[in-house]
């Protein structure tokens, strides 16, 4: 494996006094495409939020390219080249698609913005046709596309995406995942949270499974079958392990 | 209501009862050890408790921020005063009429206002106060305008041929205490009923509440009327206690006072409101030691409240409960 560029050690974090992550260890080398999976409420979104500086960290540390980013605020993290697409709606509903993309480029220089915008319009032509529609008036799936586009536009070094496939039609899911693969090919690291495990295991180079705030499985998608995955979600153990116990 | 509170409400009942009894006993015995002036402060606190309960039902439970309490307070005060001065009716007639009048007027006002959302609703309710004051000032034949109505008689009751007048601070204190206790019980029963749960649902998410079949519009209207009636009853006590009403009764000051009581005590809890009214009146009276600095200190108190106790002092009470329980 290459030199780890994102390194999470013994991370404990949560909301207020409530701990959700109970010691997460994860090393992600530059350019890897990681799928984070796990049952509902496992703490996947919380992990991404924590990486983006949006929760209270109780212990452990996060470093990125050798730099400790544990205590940084989200704006500073963004400046380090880490972008986040949160779960659920996150756009400016009373601004047009065009303006939303401009806001996404808030930290970029003005000259860059236009080129970047044209680039995402090429990627997602449907957004181009709706460029003057208010974001809040679009369908759920269209908004989801917009949000992915907003993050892509920032050209981050690490992209944290939380369930980008939610609400997308099968063909749109195809487009989004193709795009993730493509930007991954340009060297960007991707941390993808997905419930659509089938699709996620197709595209990711590595699968990490979280349960009750801990990593319980980490390996290549090819090394785990679908049924085993389901079993892991439910019990936290592989079938093989249970048999050994008996 | 947070789950913590819900559990506290069920498991803590055994403690609540003795504690509540002790509190009531203390309140009953207050005239034995309180002078006239502290008793007066208690009376004011208890009078304000009524509109505050009303506002709490509206804001704390149903999620509607209203500044109209002063308007209904004023309507109640004037209704009572006019009846007492012109017709010499006994207290309970004036008192009930004040509540009914305020509640009834809330209906036509609520129908257009409750269609508005958040800030527009707030401003509309503020408008009621301002327009109410203009009416009280200009409908001179009825209200005597700015001269106000003075010499409102002390509360008296007629029971058949016998009649009985409540006079003196102590007498009035017991009258107000009894009424406040009943009002608190009524408010408690409302929020503990299924309707109370529906009100919270409206507060949390109106569209969702509608989609699960809660007639949000009716509830809002009913709660708005109930809250107005509470304010009207408070206004009646106010008029009989101070013996004057003037257009100044319609003043933003009273609306914000109610707001401070409810939020300071803890919106969405009954005990919080009781605590809030005592605290508020205690504070304003305590601050009298430095008249020039009084309002400045009060301003800082508000800021402290917002930033350090954003959900009022009720969580403190909750913590006190769990402390007691752990000791047990």
């Amino acid at each position: 494996m290459a030199e780890p560029s994102l390194s999470i050690k013994g991370l404990r974090a949560g909301y207020g006094s409530l701990d959700i992550l109970n010691g997460v260890d994860l090393d992600v080398p530059q350019g890897q495409f990681v799928a984070l999976m796990g049952p509902n409420g496992a703490g996947k979104s919380t992990l991404l939020k924590t990486l983006y500086g949006m929760t209270t960290i109780k212990g452990g540390n996060i470093s990125w390219q050798g730099k400790d980013i544990t205590a940084l605020k989200s704006r500073a993290i963004l400046a380090e080249g880490i972008s986040w697409v949160p779960q659920g709606r996150c756009n400016f509903p009373v601004m047009t698609v065009d303006e939303n993309l401009q806001m996404a480029a808030y930290t970029l220089r003005d000259s860059q913005v236009k080129a970047e915008r044209d680039y995402v319009y090429d990627l997602f032509p449907i957004l181009k046709t709706r460029r003057n529609t208010l974001a809040g008036n679009m369908s759920g799936g269209e908004q989801q596309l917009l949000e992915v586009a907003m993050a892509v536009l920032q050209r981050p070094k690490i992209l944290l995406v939380d369930e980008p496939s939610v609400g997308l039609s099968p063909s749109a899911i195809g487009i989004v995942f193709d795009e993730l693969l493509r930007i991954n090919a340009t060297g960007q690291t991707i941390l993808l949270v997905e419930q659509n495990t089938k699709k996620a295991m197709e595209v990711a180079q590595r699968a990490v499974i979280l349960r009750l705030g801990k990593v319980i499985w980490d390996g290549r998608p090819a090394d785990i079958t679908h049924d085993e995955l389901g079993e892991l979600f439910l019990t936290g153990r592989m079938r093989g392990e249970t048999e050994v116990e008996h | 209501m947070t789950p913590a509170e819900l559990t506290a409400a069920t498991t803590g009942r055994d403690l609540r009862v003795p504690f509540g009894v002790a509190l009531v006993a203390l309140a009953c015995a207050a005239p034995l050890f309180l002078g006239n002036y502290p008793l007066h402060a208690m009376i004011i606190a208890l009078i304000f408790l009524l509109p505050a309960h009303g506002l709490n039902l509206l804001l704390g439970y149903t999620g509607l921020l209203s500044l109209a309490q002063a308007a209904f307070f004023g309507i109640g005060a004037y209704t009572s005063a006019l009846l007492a001065v012109h017709f010499g009716t006994p207290f309970y007639v004036n008192f009930l009429a004040a509540g009914l009048m305020a509640g009834a007027i809330a209906l036509p006002l609520g129908i257009p206002a409750l269609r508005l959302r958040a800030t527009s609703f707030v401003m509309c309710t503020l408008g009621f106060v301002i327009i109410g004051q203009a009416i009280a000032k200009n409908w001179i034949t009825l209200t005597r305008g700015d001269m106000g109505l003075a010499a409102i008689p002390k509360p008296w009751f007629a029971l058949g041929p016998a009649s009985f007048t409540v006079s003196g601070t102590v007498g009035f204190y017991y009258l107000v205490l009894a009424i406040a206790a009943i009002a608190t019980l009524v408010a408690y029963l409302i929020v503990r009923s299924p309707a109370g749960r529906n009100m919270i649902a409206i507060r949390e998410n109106e569209t969702l509440a509608e989609s699960v079949g809660i007639p949000t519009w009716h509830y809002k209207l009913v709660v708005f009327m109930i809250s107005a009636a509470f304010a009207g009853l408070g206004g009646s006590l106010y008029a009989h206690y101070l013996t004057v009403v003037s257009p100044l009764t319609f003043q933003m000051y009273y609306s914000t006072t109610m707001l401070i009581i409810v939020l300071g005590g803890g919106a969405g809890t009954i005990s919080g409101v009781i605590f809030g009214s005592l605290l508020f009146v205690g504070l304003t009276e305590a601050l009298r030691v430095a008249p020039e600095l009084r309002m400045i200190a009060y301003g800082f108190f508000l800021l402290g409240l917002v930033f350090w106790f954003p959900s009022g002092f009720a969580p403190l009470i909750g913590r006190f409960w769990s402390f007691l329980e752990r000791r047990k």
Partner: protein, 256 residues
């Protein structure tokens, strides 16, 4: 149980300015049926739901529920009838309340006749609420939310909130439930359970369903009939197998 369809919609249209979100759709849901509604993003599925349930006013067309014309009724008018309930695509819950309270509220209006009775404090009211709690606990177990049942719903994960919404729909057992993407963000194992409980409600209580879903596996396994929308119009209708084979559907929706 045959006869009239439970939901009968004809020529439904909805436009927002120049956008024709729904453009003349006819659709029937038979009694006891589980019907699927699919289509590409922005094809007008959610808008269709909005028009049927009264959240939006249709520009044209008629909606009949159980033989009764309910076109133009408001969301609340329809919901209060208690025959048809819906869930929302964007998850909404009563954030400050725990799961049990969320579910009790969802069932409450259907066990209390009229708003005045909800102010009741007697044992009759208490018993009703207790029964609701009982049912709520059952559903919480089914949805796999037992461990977090005391947490405020607003502080649960996205998927958990989606499950609360689903469970709320089952609380009062209406005749028809419209679900807008109930499986979005739910883990594969739980999807199986949700599918199971939909089947159960359908077979043992005769609840009909109209389900918007992008998870095509779920749609094919659950629905007897699937309707496909595209750009506000009905593109196809038929059994899941027909639909998956349909060339037009493949192009517009499934991709390739």
């Amino acid at each position: 149980m045959t006869g009239l369809p439970i939901l009968d919609i004809s020529g439904l249209c909805k436009s927002y300015g120049a956008v024709r979100a729904v453009d003349g759709v006819d659709l029937q849901v038979d009694r006891g049926e589980i019907c699927g509604l699919i289509g590409p993003n922005g094809s007008g599925k959610s808008t269709f739901f909005d028009c049927v349930t009264g959240l939006a006013k249709p520009s044209a067309g008629a909606v009949k529920l159980d033989g009764q014309d309910i076109t133009g009724w408001s969301l609340n008018d329809i919901a209060r009838e208690g025959r048809m309930l819906r869930s929302f695509q964007k998850t909404v819950v009563f954030s400050a309340l725990d799961i049990e309270e969320n579910l009790v509220i969802a069932g409450q209006m259907f066990t209390f006749p009229g708003i005045w009775s909800t102010f009741g404090i007697g044992s009759a009211a208490r018993n009703r609420v207790a029964a609701l709690r009982e049912r709520a606990r059952e559903l919480i177990k089914i949805a796999g939310l037992w461990d977090v049942r005391f947490q405020p719903a607003g502080k649960l994960s996205g998927g958990q909130q989606k499950l609360i919404q689903f469970a709320s729909m089952l609380m009062p057992e209406p005749k028809l439930i419209l679900l807008d993407e109930p499986m979005a963000g739910i883990n594969p194992k739980l999807i199986e359970r949700v599918v199971e409980s939909i089947r159960l409600a359908n077979t043992s209580f005769g609840v009909s369903f109209l389900i918007i879903e992008h998870n095509i596996d779920v749609v094919t396994s659950l629905c007897r009939r699937v309707v496909v929308l595209d750009q506000g119009r009905k593109l196809a209708e038929g059994t899941p197998d027909d639909i998956v084979q349909n060339q037009a559907v493949r192009e517009a929706y499934l991709g390739g």
